[in-house]
Symmetry: C2
Subunit: 316 residues, 2 copies
């Protein structure tokens, strides 16, 4: 699938960090960075940009803040060799805490929001643009939003100056038909914007939903090494790059980072497909109950987990 | 996705058995059988039908032969509550070793063959039909067959009396576009036959390729509990049933069998997505080299495995 406009974003540190509170050693982050550089990946999301007041540094690692002094310690003082991005959550970052682009190694701020926060997201994204950053808006949990509310949110984003808008399958609940329908809706609502795809793997569909989105016009693709990410994880970068067969990307540096740095984490934090994540995904629910279950001693009692879900008879 | 014609076949014992030489205890087979019955699954493939001369019973378990005395020990003497099937490999079964249907608990013989064996497969399938069995032909390794040879094979199968023909992704190398193309080709070549789908998970696409096949007309669907199967494994039954949302199927009995009997095997034989299977799948190669690698001490050296592949530079 060669299309010149396609760009790939690695969010291993940002989304994988949800599983370990962003407590990655510098060596891990450097390894992902080097792999992205060597593999020709277009963007690397190095974490969340948060205000110091939003979290305690005693509880979360440095990649919840993405301070430039932490970034520089990892990548050195030179111009970053892969564009770095950071994600901003509405309410957890004051725009005053975002330095002008000239003072930061970060190139792109991605603003994540729920449908009812779209106005705030547009405002923050515009402020980031005015500070010199590339920006995106990533509309989360869209599988829970009704048509009227979604159309209004899309209309508001369409009027903004933000050039990239993301289709996000927050709960890993979408099948290819949903991806197709939403891609068509998003393209129609904002024909001049680039559409991105960010998929989760609850039903082992993150990779194929990414491919479906590409087929229907998505040109910004999120993935993580070995699918590392919250709960069932994400679209695995190595599968995506093997699929794209684009001469600008290389697979081997990604495999090296996976075997050197990501596999050891797989032993410690068990992301990836597990039955409880299937259950929340296919019931279109947030994975938090499944993640809690997977942390308990009864994690392998799938029947009990399913019966603990409200309305489980729908799926029984 | 409700379509009355859809039938689901569980091949946990048959395909999962490739990973442990069919050395399942009766309790495991009974548990899968009970789960299929309770979940409303249409067919359960209980193993391969082989002649005693083809394998040694000291090396492989009973489900490589599917003798009726073994089957009856597990399911009892009554009429099977789910239709049982067995797979026949050309050259490993003499038709004389297949009893008439009235003397067997098996309902369906599925004949697996390569393109150059199609005539033999049709002959064996016809002989099975004459003995009273339902039959299918499952054409393997089609991703290595050129258009001319495939068209000839399809033409020969089209002329047969065998009512069901399978699209098989033996190497887990197919993307949704390939599935669509082959489904269209198969339907055109044999408009009166039912088309089935049997997918492998090397690129985490077994489930989505099964959905793609359904969308394009497949009505016989193969899956295994927790995706148990050779190498990267198969389409996971629990994900498929959650997707189908067909009132005749139930999810909970499948989850119970998974947690009671399949999860313990997952600890012992490590089927499922691993990078070496991605590499053979995306290079359209048989997984045997990846399976051998996964059995070696250097199983997590993915870079070395990739460099061991002929022509790996194509994917590098």
């Amino acid at each position: 699938m060669f299309r010149e406009e396609i760009k790939v974003l690695d969010c291993t540190v940002r989304d994988g960090g949800i599983m370990n509170k962003w407590k990655f050693e510098d060596r891990f982050v450097k390894s992902v960075y080097d792999a992205c550089v060597d593999a020709g990946i277009d963007y690397m999301e190095i974490g969340y940009k948060s205000s110091e007041s939003a979290f305690s540094r005693s509880e979360v690692g440095p990649w919840r803040f993405c301070d430039d002094k932490d970034i520089r310690r990892v990548i050195g003082d030179e111009e970053p060799k892969v564009k770095l991005s950071a994600m901003c959550d509405i309410g957890r970052i004051d725009v005053e805490d975002i330095p002008p682009k000239e003072e930061s190694a970060i190139s792109m701020m991605r603003v994540a929001c729920y449908a009812h926060q779209v106005d705030k997201a547009v405002k923050l994204a515009h402020e980031c643009m005015d500070r010199g950053y590339e920006t995106t808006i990533n509309l989360m949990a869209v599988s829970k939003v009704n048509e009227r509310d979604l159309d209004e949110a899309l209309s508001d984003i369409a009027k903004s100056r933000v050039p990239i808008f993301y289709l996000v399958d927050s709960f890993g609940s979408m099948y290819c038909e949903t991806i197709q329908m939403l891609m068509e809706k998003y393209k129609k609502a904002m024909p001049d914007k680039t559409i991105g795809i960010h998929a989760h793997n609850n039903m082992q569909l993150a990779m194929s939903n990414t491919v479906s989105a590409i087929i229907h016009g998505a040109n910004m693709l999120d993935a993580t090494l070995l699918g590392m990410g919250r709960g069932a994880g994400n679209c695995p970068m190595e599968i995506l790059i093997a699929f794209l067969k684009n001469p600008k990307y290389r697979l081997l540096p990604l495999l090296k980072a996976i075997q050197d740095e990501v596999m050891p984490w797989q032993q410690k934090i068990d992301w990836g497909y597990h039955v409880p994540y299937l259950i929340t995904g296919s019931m279109n629910e947030h994975p938090r109950s499944a993640m809690k279950w997977m942390d308990s001693e009864q994690k392998e009692d799938f029947v009990a987990f399913m019966k603990s879900m409200h309305d489980y008879e729908l799926l029984e």
